[in-house]
């Protein structure tokens, strides 16, 4: 028994702290089974931003709805397209003749309600403005039977005849009627639909919109080696992979914060297309060669011919063309600033951040031995690419054209640049994209 204990102890001492070298490939096998680092931060951030944005929109909408009248800042000059009007007003010192004015108002069917709010800074506030195509008909209407003899033009205090007016007496409906009657009489301005469009877009400060966007993209791939010993591999990849025309599609919901500033957020799917040309070194092509041999006599004349057939195998000739697709589901958050505006056209400088929610890959690329290939698809995680592409910057110039008060079309040349590599830390190359695109959009304004 004592010997047994001694035996046990000797074995224990020999093996308890023994180490055996681990096979090299084992870590790769373990790594494949490990869950990828969670993207909780990105998802949380994206979630918080989306919820915040929705709440802000909701709050603003509700606070608007709670007010008795909708207060909209309105630029007087924009409402009246002709500059002659302003100069005509400067000279208006006398009560204005009426009958013709009444008829004019009836003709143009523009109902304007300017109630109870004036501001001394030169901007006139109105409760609502509508035209014959306007969205809301206001309650205060002027008709041809209303007497318009109370207008006192000399009470108009014109601060800037081209831009703004302070009109202390405008709260009196009769005066308003007189004023607009006068405008039309003096300038023969007809409110056509296109002017009403202008009124809508230049007038409102708070606007909600939903934009459907589609973009044609040309990606530029940045592929770089982690070390000098990988340069050959990178060159092999560069020579076998070519980017193609790609696309993105999505929507952006937004809010015009001020006349010149708007914020948007939404969802976007984009796809980068590539072609991978791979020549399999182990493949071989079989060819049948027909050999015709001529039999000649001593004089050199051909007297006969023999046809033989040979089969030969040419190695490394099979080339595969594999379509690689890199797919991104993103959350774009974009801020737009108006840099130009004229009539129906407006130009915005857009900039923002695109947070990736999901990154998927399908296709194949060369392995780091530059001979074999690694295939990957969307359904299985792989050792090469991350599951989340992180953040990208977004810059664009948005050119808009108003088709109607509620509808705009836009064209937006844009540039997207990924901040970080799409590859895993252990992969010997860094891969990311800069995308140049032209985005077409359709904006619905609410």
């Amino acid at each position: 028994m004592k010997l047994d204990h001694q035996f046990d102890k000797l074995i224990r001492d020999k093996l308890k702290f023994h180490q055996t070298e681990v096979p090299e490939h084992l870590w790769e096998k373990i790594e494949v089974q490990l869950p990828r680092k969670s993207n909780k931060f990105i998802f949380t951030l994206a979630g918080i931003m989306t919820i915040s944005f929705t709440l802000i929109l909701f709050y603003i909408r509700m606070s608007d709805a709670g007010q008795p009248t909708r207060r909209v800042e309105y630029n007087f000059r924009t409402m009246l397209p002709s500059e002659k009007f302003a100069s005509a007003q400067i000279n208006a010192k006398k009560p204005i003749p009426l009958g013709e004015n009444q008829q004019e108002l009836a003709t143009i069917k523009s109902n304007i309600d300017i109630s109870h709010q004036t501001k001394n800074t030169g901007t006139l506030y109105t409760d609502n403005i509508s035209s014959s195509i306007g969205v809301n008909q206001t309650e205060t209407k002027f008709n041809s039977s209303t007497p318009i003899n109370q207008f006192e033009a000399d009470k108009l205090n014109i601060i800037d005849p081209k831009v703004n007016l302070t009109i202390p007496e405008l709260h009196k409906p009769a005066n308003i009627q007189s004023l607009f009657g006068h405008f039309n009489t003096q300038n023969r301005v007809k409110y056509k639909n296109k002017d009403a469009c202008l009124v809508q877009f230049d007038g409102y400060r708070k606007k909600y919109f939903l934009e459907l966007v589609n973009s044609v993209d040309l990606p530029v791939k940045h592929l770089s080696a982690m070390g000098d010993d990988q340069i050959k591999y990178i060159n092999a990849r560069k020579s076998t992979e070519n980017v193609f025309l790609s696309f993105s599609t999505g929507f952006r919901a937004g809010l015009a914060i001020t006349r010149n500033l708007e914020i948007m957020a939404g969802g976007q799917f984009s796809q980068i297309n590539e072609q991978f040309d791979y020549t399999d070194p182990e493949s071989s092509q079989t060819k049948i060669i027909i050999i015709k041999s001529y039999v000649k006599n001593s004089m050199g004349e051909t007297i006969d011919s023999v046809i033989t057939q040979q089969t030969i195998h040419i190695p490394g000739t099979h080339t595969y063309k594999i379509q690689n697709h890199y797919r991104f589901i993103d959350l774009p958050i974009v801020l737009g600033y108006q840099i130009f505006s004229k009539r129906r056209f407006s130009v915005f400088a857009n900039t923002g951040i695109i947070a990736n929610l999901k990154f998927m890959q399908k296709g194949a690329i060369l392995d780091d031995d530059a001979i074999t290939i690694s295939k990957f698809n969307e359904n299985q995680p792989n050792n090469i690419f991350l599951e989340n592409a992180g953040f990208s910057s977004y810059t664009g110039i948005n050119i808009k054209y108003a088709l109607s008060p509620g509808l705009q079309i836009s064209l937006e040349p844009n540039l997207r640049h990924q901040f970080s590599s799409l590859t895993n830390d252990d992969y010997p190359a860094l891969q990311k994209y800069t995308t140049i695109g032209v985005q077409g959009g359709l904006r619905f304004i609410f």
């Binding site: 010997l3 035996f7 084992l26 790594e31 490990l34």
Partner: protein, 187 residues
């Protein structure tokens, strides 16, 4: 109360990294303890291929449950426990029936000189252990090297305590025979 165990900064950093899912930290931890854990797996497995499977499965579990490690005990001890449990589960899962016979075996009388073990390399000794039948090997490892009692082994393997004892005697006998044969060959 758990004994106070000091963890080196490297070990602590690696563990923290693994908890947050950092792939580099996971690889670092594997490189730090892989060889020790592989040796344990080799003792419980029948061959190297099985040992690799166990090590693989064990480390996946380590990274899965590392967030529950509270730095109170030895981390290496915690790792070993997971590897041993994984080895036992692997054997239960992949071998339909491990035979545990209960015949009593007397202690070896002809085994005169335990010092003979010094003439063996650890790798040779490991290969002899791997050649033991599954049931013998489990009990032998758990009792002699890991230091569990027969009662604990009986619970772990869900066998009778007496079975554990007899398995140990047989394992010891068989191993001694192999060592003696080795000694004779060496002479």
């Amino acid at each position: 109360m758990s004994p106070l165990v000091l963890h080196s900064d490297t070990e602590r950093d690696l563990i923290s990294g693994c908890i947050s899912g950092d792939r580099k930290a996971q690889k670092g931890l594997f490189q730090m303890y892989g060889a020790t854990m592989y040796a344990i797996c080799l003792r419980y497995a029948q061959n190297k291929s099985e040992a690799e499977d166990i090590l693989q499965e064990g480390f996946v579990r380590v990274f899965q449950y590392i967030k529950h490690f509270n730095f109170e005990g030895s981390f290496e001890g915690w790792l070993k426990k997971i590897m041993i449990n994984t080895s036992l589960k692997y054997n239960q899962k992949h071998k339909f029936c491990i035979e545990y016979d209960t015949f009593a075996v007397n202690s070896m009388e002809e085994y005169e000189d335990p010092e003979i073990i010094h003439t063996l390399h650890a790798e040779e000794l490991m290969s002899y252990i791997r050649q033991l039948p599954d049931g013998y090997r489990m009990v032998f490892n758990l009792y002699i090297i890991e230091g569990f009692s027969h009662k604990e082994i009986a619970n772990m393997l869900q066998i009778e305590e007496v079975t554990s004892r007899s398995q140990l005697l047989k394992a010891r006998k068989l191993l001694q025979e192999k060592i003696i044969a080795h000694q004779k060959l060496a002479i």
